[in-house]
């Protein structure tokens, strides 16, 4: 009974809160899905929850390497094994290493960026489904789950990149700093593109779960459509005109080449390894990726409305 009286008595905290809240406008509880006007609020909301992104990423990493002795070092095993296989099978046995100088660095450079792309796209079909517990009980911008997949993959990417740089120092093939812009652009393309693709994949996979199987198949095909274990010089001799342009229309292909140009010194010395105006192509690819991702996010914003009840 005493408590009730305390409730009625107008404590100043309560009055202040009341005044403060009354000053706020009543706002609609839902994402503004307007194609243009909803855009700023979407990103403002993601920004507001940036600390959660860190927490989610930590949680994912913890989940992945729980109770393993080597922990995050395992993330290096796969690319290193791939490197060894491609180095011996394609480099030595098939002889590609003879025409590609520093073949190991070349392959590892390509695998590093391609690995980032693959990891995000492999994680994204499950990124909403596996967080169903949160999505069904708490409202947070759902883009965060894709972003945390990217953050996760970036961690592995970072470790591989450090290893790659160490390799270049050991072999004496330290890439010149002048080319670093190509690498940054390549990385930016992959990050922006995987954000857009990841959003679409994660949302569609909630409704049609076949997507996660399809992704694996497509990634295998696209691996061979980018110059990772062979160079662009081979492509130029086999494809002409329209087909060559089509090959280069793949933004990941351009991004991988940009990244290789920045990290593989032997390539920057031999000019004919790259397509003409690679820088222009990188910039165009980035613009295309940005536009695509903006559209993808708007579509996602609409699809995510009914996600909590579909999971």
């Amino acid at each position: 009974m005493f408590e009730r009286e305390a409730l009625i008595s107008d404590s100043s905290v309560a009055t202040q809160r009341k005044i403060a809240i009354q000053a706020l406008p009543l706002a609609r509880v839902s994402q503004n899905t307007g194609f243009i006007f909803g855009l700023p609020s979407s990103y403002a909301e993601i920004w507001h929850y940036r600390d959660l992104l860190g927490q989610l990423t930590r949680r994912e990493i913890r989940a992945k390497y729980k109770a393993s002795v080597l922990g995050i070092l395992w993330s290096l095993v796969r690319p290193l094994v791939q490197l060894l296989i491609y180095y011996f099978a394609i480099g030595q046995v098939l002889g590609a290493a003879r025409s590609i100088p520093d073949f190991a660095i070349y392959v590892f450079s390509g695998l590093t960026l391609w690995g980032l792309f693959v990891e995000v796209l492999t994680l994204s079909p499950q990124s909403l489904l596996s967080n169903g517990g949160i999505i069904k009980k708490v409202y947070v911008p759902r883009e965060l789950f894709t972003l945390s997949a990217i953050a996760n993959a970036l961690l592995n990417f970072g470790i591989q990149l450090i290893l790659l740089v160490i390799f270049t120092f050991i072999t004496g093939a330290v890439p010149p700093l002048a080319e670093i812009g190509y690498g940054v652009l390549g990385l930016a393309i992959v990050i922006v593109l995987t954000f857009g693709l990841g959003l679409l994949i994660s949302a569609i996979n909630v409704y049609v779960r076949d997507l996660e199987h399809l992704i694996g198949v497509l990634l295998t095909i696209f691996f061979w459509l980018s110059p990772i274990v062979y160079t662009f010089a081979f492509v130029k001799t086999t494809l002409q005109g329209f087909w060559l342009e089509l090959y280069l229309a793949n933004p990941v292909t351009v991004a991988v080449m940009g990244f290789q140009k920045a990290t593989w010194r032997a390539g920057s010395e031999a000019l004919d390894t790259w397509p003409d105006d690679l820088m222009t192509r990188l910039i165009v690819a980035l613009v295309v990726a940005v536009v695509f991702t903006f559209i993808a996010q708007r579509l996602f914003s609409r699809m995510q409305r009914s996600i909590a009840q579909e999971i």
Partner: protein, 388 residues
């Protein structure tokens, strides 16, 4: 300028349930897709205003749409039609430990959990001592939560989400967590929230909780808002709905043997509650065809908390049901009641001569007992105290 923290206007929510998911199935059943989608309306044209600084209790049957309404308010579900407006900072306590990872320590999970309710890392750090202190598990805070007992788990989860300084707090039946001292702690935290002028919407099945905390009640019945307003009137509406559905329960095909159960108190107070010392007349109509003799009847009073308050068998009173009787009325007169305050459900069970349960109704009737000025539980005493 309105004085509400949130308003719902003509809100409806339709759910569609698809049964098939793979491409093959979609292809095979393409033409009959519509038949495979079942839909139902979880909410229908709900218009509700939540006044600033109030504590609103959301009540109704299982499946009446309470949780859906709460999730729409929290932004988790989008309404199919209608408008939901809200202002201020909101925190939803719909499930304790949502997002907890078993391999992370208690401390790490606090950061995750409070980030989920929109707190920044800095804010969490500022409240960290308080949160750990509130959860009462300092010793284990750096242990992975998978080693926690379920009690420790919910205590940590509750503590981690309650310090987020919300203007509007949504709670879904999570108040009854932990042991009794911890529950008391949670409840006093809620009181503190009320004093600080925060608004609360709370879903519960306990009339006692509603009576104790809420100044507003909204009653939902199969997706429709039946009542919104003052607490006592709201609980009356709720009891009406419960009574209706227990009538439905007694449809002949459900259990042919227990035809009707009524409870009549000798007197009631202004709000319809049974006062101390009143007597209760329980009357049970039975159909004993095809029941092996000799049959016995058990009557149970179950408190709102689910606790059995009282049980009585016709055998205790040596009541003999005459042999060959087909239709019988049993009457019990329970004198001078000393039950604790709250709602009681009357359950009736018919047991045949082979000690088999022939028919059983758990919510055959209900009554309300007025709250005691002091003391808690299913019994009530006149107490005098002294200190020496």
């Amino acid at each position: 300028m309105s004085t509400s923290i949130a308003t719902l206007h003509d809100v409806s929510k339709r759910f569609k349930v698809f049964t098939e998911k793979t491409l093959k199935e979609r292809f095979l059943y393409f033409n009959s897709a519509r038949e495979h989608a079942q839909e139902f309306w979880a909410l229908r044209d709900v218009t509700l205003e939540i006044p600033l600084g109030s504590t609103l209790g959301l009540v109704g049957h299982n499946g009446s749409g309470k949780s859906t309404l709460l999730k729409i308010l929290g932004g988790i579900f989008q309404p199919t039609s209608g408008d939901v407006l809200r202002r201020g900072r909101m925190a939803a306590l719909l499930e304790l430990g949502a997002g907890f990872h078993p391999d992370m320590t208690g401390r790490e999970n606090i950061f995750l959990s409070s980030a989920l309710v929109g707190m920044s890392k800095k804010e969490t750090q500022r409240h960290l001592e308080e949160i750990i202190d509130f959860s009462g598990i300092e010793q284990f805070i750096d242990t992975p939560v998978k080693f926690y007992s379920s009690g420790m788990y919910v205590r940590l989860a509750f503590a981690a989400s309650i310090f987020s300084d919300p203007d509007l707090l949504l709670i879904d039946e999570v108040l009854a967590v932990g042991d009794e001292p911890f529950q008391a702690k949670c409840l006093s935290k809620i009181r503190e929230f009320q004093r600080e002028g925060r608004s609360i919407v709370l879903v519960t099945h306990s009339s006692a909780t509603i009576r104790e905390f809420c100044d507003q009640v909204a009653v939902l019945d199969r997706g429709k808002l039946r009542f919104a307003g003052e607490t006592h009137a709201g609980l009356d509406v709720l009891n009406g709905i419960y009574a209706e559905s227990s009538k439905l329960d007694s449809r002949p095909q459900a259990d042919a043997h227990i035809r009707g159960v009524t409870v009549k108190p000798s007197r009631v107070n202004a709000t319809g509650e049974v006062p101390l010392g009143a007597s209760l007349a329980v009357s049970i109509d039975l159909d004993l065809r095809e029941v092996a003799e000799p049959a016995t009847v058990e009557v149970r009073f179950v408190a709102g908390s689910g606790q059995l308050a009282y049980q009585l068998s016709s055998r205790d009173l040596s009541l003999e049901i005459p042999e060959g009787a087909q239709s019988v009325t049993l009457a019990f007169d329970l004198k001078d009641q000393h039950l604790g305050g709250g709602e009681y459900q009357v359950g009736v069970e018919l047991i045949d001569g082979f000690q088999r349960s022939v028919a059983k109704r758990n919510r055959a009737a209900a009554f309300f007992v007025e709250s005691a000025p002091f003391g808690q539980g299913t019994a009530r005493f006149d107490v005098t105290g002294s200190v020496s």
